[in-house]
């Protein structure tokens, strides 16, 4: 059934054939090239390991962002309770950015998970096919004349070869994808470095005025709380709100 297939499938088939041609004669590889098979399977394992590494990295980024979302939310609440809508808005804006990033990271992690499962599954399939070939070859040799056997064995070898080439293609694709995600991950890191998702109470360089004010409100609220507690413990002042200065920079 040569020449079968539409334009998409023809291109894919040509790609697979090209990978096959680049490899050595599959029947030779299968017959004598145990080393080659081991190499191939190691390649698959490496491909899978790369996917897992990328996945872990994205998961860590995602955890960090989750924490930032919680912190920013808390800060927004504090700001609201202090009547500082402007600060609350700033915190919520950052929270939104962090949440959007988080969603896209989660999608990518899921994608990588699927890819990892698929590659693992395919690796198993290929191993099974290689084993089947070893057995089949002996059966064919016993059943057919030498000339016929050669044709049949070479057909079977092409079947396994296609499986190998297709797995090679899948690994290439997985590597391209993880490469893209790495680039994307770097972009997120740059956003982080620029302070886009920063905990607004973090003290250090690069803080803007909004950061400082929010930090002060947070600290101020904590001081108020502690002071109320102390007053209550000492039995003085009752439930009155302590008249504490907001801070010198206000």
């Amino acid at each position: 059934m040569a020449g079968m297939g539409g334009r998409m499938s023809t291109v894919i088939k040509a790609k697979i054939s090209k990978l096959l041609d680049r490899a050595e004669d599959p029947s030779e590889t299968l017959d004598y090239g145990y080393q080659k098979q081991v190499e191939l399977l190691q390649n698959v394992k490496k491909g899978i390991a790369d996917v897992v590494t990328s996945k872990k990295r994205l998961q860590m980024q995602s955890q960090k962002l989750e924490q930032q979302v919680v912190k920013l939310d808390t800060q927004a609440r504090q700001a609201v309770s202090q009547g500082r809508e402007d600060l609350a808005r700033a915190a919520l804006e950052r929270k939104t950015v962090a949440q959007t990033e988080l969603q896209s990271l989660d999608t990518q992690v899921k994608e990588l998970e699927t890819q990892q499962e698929q590659l693992t599954e395919n690796e198993k399939k290929l191993k099974a096919k290689i084993e089947a070939f070893r057995t089949k070859k002996e059966v064919i040799k016993a059943q057919y004349s030498a000339a016929e056997a050669q044709v049949k064995i070479s057909e079977a070898a092409n079947g396994v070869g296609e499986e190998m080439a297709d797995l090679g293609l899948a690994i290439q694709r997985a590597e391209d994808k993880t490469e893209q995600m790495r680039a994307r991950g770097q972009a997120v890191e740059e956003l982080e470095a620029a302070g886009t998702f920063d905990d607004l109470t973090q003290i250090g360089g690069g803080q803007d005025d909004i950061d400082k004010e929010l930090a002060q409100i947070g600290a101020g609220a904590q001081v108020d709380d502690e002071l109320s507690k102390m007053k209550a413990e000492l039995g003085s002042g009752g439930g009155e709100k302590p008249a504490l200065e907001e801070g010198e920079s206000k």
């Binding site: 059934m1 998409m8 499938s9 894919i12 395919n122 399939k125 057995t135 296609e162």
Partner: protein
């Protein structure tokens, strides 16, 4: 006939499905060329559905070359545009 979904596996389909699959394939490429992402997605889903409905997965001990090899299930519109149209018809 034997159809492979790249990155997934091989399926045996009745030979009668060949022309339908072929037709859908060419329509899908035409959709890509026309920049119609929704249409492409729909046609691609139809192709997969056809393989799933009529196909039987080949056993691990069956060593056959495929008559038709389809792209990976999660092929994107962008990939299709890059690979299956115009210049992309000449594989790299």
């Amino acid at each position: 006939m034997i159809v492979r979904i790249s990155g997934e596996g091989q399926f045996t389909l009745p030979d009668d499905d060949a022309s339908r699959l072929n037709e859908l394939d060419n329509e899908a490429v035409a959709a890509v060329e026309g920049g119609d992402e929704a249409k492409f997605a729909e046609l691609w889903a139809q192709m997969l559905a056809l393989v799933e409905k009529d196909g039987t997965e080949l056993g691990a001990d069956e060593l056959e070359e495929s008559d038709v090899i389809l792209p990976p299930r999660d092929v994107t519109f962008a990939e299709a545009a890059g690979e299956f149209t115009g210049e992309g018809l000449i594989p790299d």
